[in-house]
């Protein structure tokens, strides 16, 4: 029996048990709409699932039953004992089939025509006539149900020998309470162990030390094991989906590809169980409603194969699940019409609503725009159930839809029980935990402008008492933890502080703390109900030393301080988006090499700085190499020599992927933030040109050239030419950080103003934010939305429809170029051919100007 089937059986048996009770309740209180909806959903789920498992008998019975229940729910049919018996008969039949299924792994043969006819008759409002018909089929399931128990005894022996036996033994269901208790006990054990170890440390040669060591190890293993029982990768909830999508695509005659990202994101198993059904439903919806038929897709200029993308990741103490399709988007007009027709909103209300608000009507109960009821979806149980289920676990759901481009559902689930890594910080002598997931970086800063502190420390500046920090040429809004939490006096001794740079959604902010300790793995426990209104905390936990600590919620802090609302957020957002505009300041690493030249390279390009002993430099095959982290790293000296004569050799290490190289320099001088504006084009290979950095003329290194020297295939670099172009603004879309870092200065040297983004989605956000560019250079191979898709999206309409679009790709070939042109690219340049790219950009812009 496959896993899908056994899961289905477990689930269905649970549902059936609930159904019996619910139906009896219903008979007693026929007006209870909630019970009725509950029953309807259960039957709907059974039907939906068995449709995919290829269980036609079960599906037909459930479908017919669901029809009747749908009528009852819509109150077009009254709840009478006759109808309830009829539904009970259907449930009995389902049970009989399920029981047989559990034993043989296949549906038993049998005919349900009579029962289905009776159900259909009841649905068609012929209740009285249906009553005798309902009686008739009842013996049938009994007769059917009877035979299985007989062979059961006999079959029980041979069956274990077959494949079924190990399956039953592999899993047992344990209530979460048991796991929770275990967890508590283990935490206690760990604390006791720690105390024992502390005691043992004070005694030399204690006879207990060896057994204590073992106890310690076992405790650690036990702790890990218990932790593991609660955590599961989200992929476990997804493993049914490929099959589901495959079947769906067959059924619907659509070509569907399912992309799953972040499958190893760990979720608490309880949460995981709760999102399984909503997730299945949403994927099914995307396939059924979201994606168009191949013909429609062709007509819309999309690839025939539609894509459903699942993406899971941690964000700010939550788990975000994105379910997106590249289909037709939500039909806003139809939703509006339906909302009006069903009285959910008046015409005037609708007129005042944005598209987004109207789209959210699909989360209302009983709302479905599908005009026909298919076996797959479209009965009006749908997104409302999904929403209810997600909200049950304290999550939220939202959607984004662009007509013709697809729909994305964003589900945010809290990690009530999840284990997270947290950074422990201190403010005013009190310790707090910040989920590591939202921490971007830590910056040392000083509070006191008088005290110069050590080099590299930034100063916390104040605008009318609002603290801000200059961080890589942006103003980072700061929040003092002491002030925010009203902890009392800020520690000013030495004036030193740490700034925890945290990302909240699209925004960045800095949290000022006094000290930063280690990171610790913590189990998030919800705060007591009387503290729920304090939104600054997402929970609390017990640290390894037994002390209780509050977990800060960066989202709550952001909300509490206004980051992410109003003008401040816009300021930060634009700052974020424009980070790499070449006119802005860049952190430059200054060094001396090749005699006494002062040279600079963007710090972002340098992977590491190293100082290796001279005797570690070896010569092999005419090249200078060194052993570095278990590999041979080629070394290149700028002056072509073998480096200096000092006992140690400073190196700039460049890395991309698994290729690394070291550039031998004489001396590393400093890191300064300055505007990288190349004023003189280079006269020698290996340099981009000369710029004034930190007040002195500095040769800017052309990293590409040196990389090629080390690795012939890294890419062929041609030094850029200083140029006069009237500051055309170019948007660069490439997923490789390295490439972006390389191209921004190179194109800047050629006279372009460059804004670089790492994904097509980010680029489209810029478009939607109203940014204009003179030309766009895009990579073809990118995760999520590739270059071709990006080009089609741009060309499909909008403000960028006419902008010259240049493709970059590592693939060289006519068919690729052709595919690119068809997608809407103006021109096509092989990646890393800087000169060609600059020439192409100029041509395209010139053509545009001429046109």
């Amino acid at each position: 029996m496959d896993d899908l089937l056994s899961d289905f059986l477990t689930e269905t048996n649970e549902s059936l048990a609930t159904l019996d009770v619910a139906l009896v309740t219903l008979e007693r209180t026929p007006d209870d709409a909630e019970t009725l909806s509950g029953i309807f959903r259960l039957v709907h789920t059974i039907k939906g699932t068995c449709g995919f498992l290829g269980l036609p008998r079960l599906e037909h019975v459930a479908h017919a039953g669901e029809n009747v229940l749908g009528k009852l729910r819509d109150k077009t049919l009254a709840v009478t004992p006759a109808i309830v018996s009829l539904i009970l008969a259907a449930i009995d039949r389902i049970k009989a089939i399920v029981a047989a299924l559990a034993e043989t792994g296949a549906e038993p043969a049998g005919d349900d025509c009579e029962l289905i006819a009776a159900l259909n008759a009841a649905a068609a409002n012929e209740t009285p006539a249906a009553k005798p018909a309902a009686k008739a089929p009842e013996p049938a399931p009994l007769a059917e149900a009877a035979p299985p128990p007989e062979p059961k005894a006999a079959a029980a022996e041979p069956a274990p020998a077959a494949a079924t036996a190990p399956q039953t033994a592999q899993t047992i269901r344990v209530t979460v309470d048991v796991l929770e208790d275990l967890m508590t006990l283990v935490s206690e054990l760990v604390l006791t162990r720690n105390q024992l170890l502390q005691l043992a440390r004070t005694q030399d040669n204690s006879p207990f030390s060896v057994p204590l060591q073992r106890l310690s190890h076992i405790t650690s293993d036990l702790q890990e094991g218990v932790m593991k029982t609660r955590m599961q990768p989200i992929g476990n909830a997804w493993n049914k989906l490929p099959r589901l999508v495959r079947d769906l695509s067959h059924e619907m005659g659509k070509k569907i590809e399912l992309v799953m990202l972040g499958a190893d994101t760990e979720l608490d198993r309880q949460v995981l169980e709760m999102i399984k059904d909503p997730l299945t439903h949403m994927v099914r919806n995307s396939g059924d409603h979201g994606l168009e038929s191949p013909a429609d897709r062709r007509a819309a200029g999309k690839p025939e194969t539609g894509t459903i993308t699942l993406n899971a990741f941690h964000e700010g103490g939550h788990i975000i699940l994105e379910i997106s399709d590249d289909g037709r988007g939500l039909p806003v007009d139809r939703i509006r019409a339906k909302a009006l027709a069903s009285g959910l909103a008046t015409e005037a209300e609708l007129a005042a609503m944005t598209g987004g608000q109207i789209e959210r009507f699909i989360f209302r109960a009983g709302f479905s725009t599908a005009t026909t009821v298919s076996a797959v979806s479209g009965r009006g149980v749908g997104m409302d159930v999904v929403k209810t289920n997600i909200e049950k676990i304290g999550g939220t759901i939202d959607l984004k839809s662009t007509s013709g481009q697809g729909t994305m559902f964003i589900v945010k689930i809290p990690l009530t029980l999840a284990i997270v890594s947290a950074l422990i910080v201190e403010a005013s002598k009190e310790r707090f935990a910040i989920p590591q997931i939202s921490v971007v970086e830590l910056v040392r800063a000083r509070r006191d402008p008088e005290n110069t502190g050590t080099a590299g420390e930034s100063l916390i500046e104040r605008i009318n008492d609002t603290p801000v920090l200059r961080l890589r040429n942006r103003l980072l809004p700061l929040v003092s933890l002491t002030e925010l939490l009203q902890l009392g006096v800020e520690e000013t001794a030495g004036g030193a502080a740490h700034v925890v740079v945290a990302q909240v959604g699209q925004h960045m902010m800095g949290i000022i703390v006094d000290r930063v300790f280690d990171t610790e793995e913590i189990v998030v426990k919800p705060v007591a109900p009387i503290l729920r209104h304090v939104t600054m905390f997402s929970g609390n936990t017990i640290l390894g030393d037994g002390s209780v600590i509050m977990i800060l919620d960066p989202n709550g802090i952001a909300r509490g301080t206004g980051v992410g609302a109003g003008s401040e957020s816009r300021l930060m957002q634009s700052a974020r988006i424009d980070t790499q505009t070449s006119a802005d300041q860049t952190a430059m690493l200054l060094f001396r090499a090749g005699g006494s030249q002062r040279m600079g390279v963007p710090l972002g390009l340098v992977a590491r700085l190293e100082d290796i002993p001279r005797d570690k430099i070896e010569f092999s095959g005419g090249a200078t190499v060194t052993q570095y982290r278990g590999k041979l790293m080629p070394l290149i000296a700028i002056d072509g020599g073998n480096g200096n004569d000092q006992p140690t050799q400073p190196l700039l290490v460049f890395a991309e992927g698994d290729r690394i190289m070291g550039l031998m320099v004489d001396e590393i001088i400093d890191v300064v933030d300055d505007k990288l504006d190349i004023e003189l084009a280079a006269s020698q290979p290996g340099l981009l040109g000369t710029a004034v950095i930190g007040g002195a003329a500095t040769d800017v290194l052309d990293t590409g050239y040196w990389l090629t020297r080390a690795w012939q295939d890294w890419f062929r670099g041609v030094p850029g030419k200083g140029a006069e172009a009237g500051q055309k603004h170019v948007l660069m879309v490439d997923d490789s950080d390295f490439f972006r870092q390389l191209m921004v200065p190179a194109l800047g040297a050629a006279g372009f103003r460059v804004t670089a983004v790492s994904s097509a989605a980010e680029a489209l956000r810029l478009r939607d934010a109203g940014k204009r560019f003179d030309a766009i250079v895009s990579d073809i191979e990118m995760p999520n939305m590739d270059g071709l898709h990006f080009a089609r999206t741009i060309r499909a309409g909008g403000p960028w429809a006419e902008v010259p679009l240049i493709a970059l790709t590592a693939h060289d070939g006519l068919e690729h170029a052709e595919a690119g042109r068809q997608a809407g690219f103006t021109d096509y340049v092989a990646k890393f051919e800087r000169e060609a790219l600059v020439a192409t950009l100029r041509n395209s812009l010139a053509e545009l100007a001429a046109a």
């Binding site: 508590t184 006990l185 604390l191 009190e430 009203q486 009387i530 304090v534 209780v548 509050m550």
Partner: protein, 159 residues
């Protein structure tokens, strides 16, 4: 007295032959809580302060792996704060699946008291005390205020 009884609904105290109370002191006042409401008595504990919490909440502490919210009984009863460095004890009670520790000045003994020593709150009792007290026991030379644990813990409902 009839009027009094009508004014205040019956509490579970009346009619019981015996009441078993854990006695404790807070600001020199002898108080008692029903022994069945008490899960643990703790000595001095390391308490983590919870910023922005209501003033009655002293913080949280770790009781064998469970996080317990500590409520300062002096603050709850609008009494002056305890002198610094005075060791405090905790009476742990459970409500709605959550554990709470009531910080008191001292816990002494468990007393079994006769119902005939019991009196309802005098109508003149100060409002804060009247809210949390279910009645008074007349002991030899001292009065013991019976505290209503569930009311003491019902911080959230008061907003």
């Amino acid at each position: 007295m009839t009027v009094d009884i009508l004014d205040r609904p019956d509490t579970d105290v009346s009619g019981d032959e015996q009441q078993v109370l854990v006695t404790l002191t807070v600001a020199d006042q002898l108080c008692g809580v029903p022994v069945l409401a008490v899960r643990d008595i703790l000595g001095e504990q390391a308490i983590t302060r919870i910023p922005l919490a209501p003033p009655e909440i002293a913080g949280s502490l770790n009781l064998r792996g469970r996080i317990v919210t500590a409520i300062d009984l002096r603050r709850r009863l609008h009494l002056p704060p305890a002198p610094p460095n005075q060791p405090r004890m905790s009476v742990v009670a459970e409500q709605g699946g959550e554990l709470y520790a009531l910080l008191v000045d001292g816990v002494s003994e468990v007393l079994s008291l006769d119902a005939n020593q019991f009196e309802r709150n005098p109508p003149t009792l100060e409002k804060t005390w009247a809210t949390f007290s279910t009645g008074i026991f007349r002991l030899d030379g001292r009065l013991l205020v019976v505290l209503d644990v569930s009311k003491l813990l019902a911080l959230a409902d008061e907003g």
